[in-house]
């Protein structure tokens, strides 16, 4: 078997002492966490380890001894060997580093050997139990050792992905060796609190934190954030109470709210903020996910609000609002005028198409009347537009997303006439298509069998055939006219839907993008680890194999995938083919979000 020793890089140059760490059962590997230096009182070491064990829930043990001989420190050999009797273990590691050499040498002693006291052994050799009676050097079984050097701080802080939910939740160890190593280092954080400059009874070497001053600032900030959080939480609870208590769930209101994207965004934001106040999840892995989710939400909300404030500061400067408002009515007028021109064009012979004149005139007049209605409505509204914009602009202080949602709603309201045209056109067209398809079946002497969901042949009566053909002919010759109207208004509608879709997409992007996780991935790549990679360090003949363990950071795409905040998806809910098919048969299309398609 090969013995793997995970050795922290910071202990490479530590003075001689005791190795403290943990044996990983089942994998034949040891994780070295710290070196406790001489001089020490063994009883104190034992007590300290027990204390640490209780704190960190890692079964810490003394793994062996570490010696980096300096000048005038010969004769350590026998002393180190004696230590093994003080700390009785199954196996005792004696790791030694010659001064000026890069490689380590390691000697593994089993318990019986320690009792047998066989001082003449060479390093890198493990004597089998059978060796005692024979003393035959030929029968030794070569035990191989791999030193895996790791950077203690990075390993401690990093989180292996995919995050396993059950990891150390119920005390059962994960199967993977690396996960165990990572878990051990992360959990033995209390061990690293002991400072080199502490005047305690023990001195040790391990990863040292950057200093206490920074942590004091952090602590103060934490203290300060508590009342702020409380205040926010109170306000949030009042708001949710208003939301739930009012008669919002009456049918017309609820329907309206589900269609207005501002209200949807409001409820979404409330829900997200509520998760911020939720209690911390207990197990470690879940805690990590929870923390990341909260941090993501917080950061994206902050970003959103700051962008919103930026927008607001632009809006309320230099009479920008008044300018917008004064431009809006002429714009609407211009749109209406263009539409009128379009209709006049359609009522002639558009693009040389042969339309049925009578039907063409009827439809054109109908739509013209509609535009007239719309224009009078806009002019009625004109004095209030500036006020609406001014108050609407205030919503930007809640965040850019609110402003965008409001914009989307306003666009929907201002283009209501286009929507109406579209609906009339689509209904008429749909009716025509439906009638034509069934009459075409009659034309061929077939009929649709509803029960068997297929087309059956059928013999019709003479009068049925006659009337059916008559209607078929009429519908067929009227179809181009209807289809043209439908096509033009559908294109208009699609432009509006596209604009709203872009707005919704950007809102969704701001809502769901895991900004915090992304920043973490860029600034501290080791925090989110996908795995590890090994590099072979320079090898000297005669010493054990040295590997350097580095952390393989998570790919950006998987960062987004893992930490994306679930939102109401506003992507087109049917595929492009389905959309085109719907357009062809004249079904109505909507840009609205659908609560049922919630993506997790």
């Amino acid at each position: 078997m090969v013995l793997k020793i995970f050795f922290p890089q910071c202990c490479n140059r530590a003075e001689s002492g005791l190795l403290v760490g943990r044996w990983i059962s089942g994998h034949d590997s040891a994780v070295v966490l710290a070196v406790i230096h001489y001089p020490f009182i063994p009883a104190q070491v034992k007590q300290y380890i027990q204390q640490m064990q209780a704190q960190s829930r890692v079964d810490l043990t003394v793994l062996g001894s570490w010696s980096l001989p300096k000048d005038g420190q010969e004769g350590m050999e026998s002393f180190l060997r004696d230590l093994s009797t003080i700390f009785p273990q199954e196996r005792w590691l004696q790791i030694r580093r010659q001064f000026g050499k890069t490689g380590f040498s390691c000697e593994v002693l089993s318990r019986d050997q320690i009792c047998g006291k066989n001082p003449g052994e060479k390093a890198e050799k493990k004597k089998k139990k059978s060796e005692e009676d024979g003393g035959d050097a030929e029968r030794e079984d070569e035990e191989k050792v791999i030193f895996v050097h790791y950077e203690q701080r990075k390993v401690m802080l990093s989180q292996l992905h995919p995050v396993e939910a059950q990891e150390s939740g119920n005390g059962s160890e994960p199967n993977s060796e690396l996960r165990q190593v990572f878990g051990t280092v992360a959990r033995s954080q209390p061990l690293f609190v002991l400072d080199r400059y502490d005047d305690g009874p023990l001195r040790s070497t391990h990863w040292q934190s950057e200093g206490r001053e920074a942590s004091i600032v952090v602590e103060l900030l934490k203290r300060a954030s508590v009342p702020l959080g409380l205040l926010l939480g109170r306000m949030l609870s009042v708001w949710t109470w208003i939301c739930s208590a009012r008669i919002l769930s009456v049918f017309p209101l609820r329907f309206l709210f589900s269609k207005l994207s501002t209200c949807v965004q409001l409820s979404y934001r409330t829900e997200r903020l509520q998760t911020l106040g939720a209690p911390q999840a207990a197990p470690q892995a879940a805690a990590h996910m929870d923390f990341m989710r909260k941090a993501n939400v917080l950061v994206s909300v902050l970003l959103d609000v700051s962008l919103g404030v930026l927008l607001m500061s632009w809006l309320y400067r230099d009479q920008n609002i008044a300018m917008l408002a004064s431009n809006m009515v002429p714009a609407a007028d211009r749109v209406a005028q263009k539409l009128e021109e379009l209709l006049q064009w359609l009522m002639g012979a558009p693009a040389g198409l042969k339309m049925n004149r009578a039907l063409d005139q009827v439809l054109g007049r109908f739509f013209l009347y509609h535009i007239h209605l719309w224009i009078s409505y806009i002019h009625l509204m004109a004095p209030f537009i500036q006020g609406i914009l001014w108050y609407g602009g205030l919503s930007a202080c809640l965040g850019l997303t609110f402003a965008l949602s409001l914009l989307s709603d306003m666009v929907a309201l201002f283009t209501f006439h286009i929507y109406c045209f579209y609906v009339y056109g689509a209904r008429l067209y749909c009716l025509k298509i439906y009638g034509l398809s069934s009459l075409w079946r009659l034309f061929r002497g077939k009929k649709w069998n509803v029960l068997r969901q297929r087309v059956d042949s059928c013999s019709y009566d003479l009068d049925q055939l006659f009337i059916g053909t008559l209607l078929f002919t009429i519908l067929l010759f009227l179809l181009p006219t209807t289809a043209l109207y439908y096509l033009v208004f559908t294109l208009l509608r699609l432009v509006v839907v596209l604009f709203q879709g872009v707005l919704h997409l950007s809102v969704d992007f701001i809502n769901s993008f895991p900004l915090f996780a992304m920043a973490l991935r860029i600034c501290r790549p080791y925090r989110l680890a996908e795995g590890v990679k090994f590099r072979v360090l320079c090898e000297e003949p005669g010493t054990a194999l040295h590997l350097l363990m580095e952390i393989n950071p998570l790919k950006c795409s998987s960062v987004v995938q893992t930490y994306r905040t679930p939102t109401y998806s506003c992507y087109p809910r049917d595929s492009w083919v389905a959309l085109v098919k719907k357009l062809f048969i004249g079904e109505l299309i909507y840009p609205w979000r659908h609560k049922t398609t919630k993506s997790d």
């Binding site: 090969v2 793997k4 994998h27 199967n175 993977s176 795995g531």
Partner: protein, 181 residues
């Protein structure tokens, strides 16, 4: 530490570098031939000629500058995402297997597979485009059900060595794996 010459499935020369770090740690590196200057020249020239032809008819200088831009970005993308310079396989007994491929730009993609997830290393046959090739792959298992192959990780995917090269790698991998069982 020897460097041997083999060929890949389309007959191009590749070299296998087998480095023994210790008795249970070996590294195999398959290096593909470097990108030939001639090929680059041919592609570049064809794009530029095309651009010049378009320019001749449209007399728009934007065409020429965009052609230059396209060749440059195309080359960058090619060496960064497509062209694999060498692929290596690091087998560490009782710890795991590390697969890495480095692109011509120096980008390196590394994956480490732990020993507890490895079921075996095998040579398999597959239909690839219009031919049948041998390839080396790592069979993975789920720790919960050790007898089922849950997925397959093919090795040396871009260099695609032939059987004799694969056999060499396979034999020494099996040697290490059997030693560290």
């Amino acid at each position: 530490m020897e460097d041997e010459a083999f060929s890949n499935i389309s007959g191009k020369a590749i070299s296998l570098d087998c480095q023994t770090h210790s008795s249970f740690c070996r590294e195999f590196t398959v290096s593909s031939p470097k990108m030939s200057i001639g090929k680059v020249m041919v592609y570049t020239c064809s794009v530029w000629l095309l651009a010049y032809a378009v320019f001749f008819f449209t007399e728009n200088t934007a065409v020429l500058s965009s052609a230059i831009l396209i060749t440059l970005t195309g080359m960058m993308l090619h060496i960064h995402f497509v062209k694999v310079d060498h692929e290596s396989l690091l087998v560490i007994g009782s710890l795991g297997i590390q697969v890495s491929s480095s692109y011509a730009s120096g980008r390196e993609v590394t994956t480490f597979i732990e020993m507890s997830r490895i079921k075996d290393i095998v040579i398999n046959e597959a239909v690839y485009l219009n031919q049948i090739i041998y390839y080396l792959c790592v069979l993975l298992k789920e720790p919960s059900e050790p007898n089922v192959v849950s997925s397959v990780v093919p090795l040396f995917q871009s260099s695609k060595p032939r059987l004799n090269c694969l056999a060499k790698v396979y034999e020494s991998c099996q040697e290490i794996l059997s030693k560290c069982q």
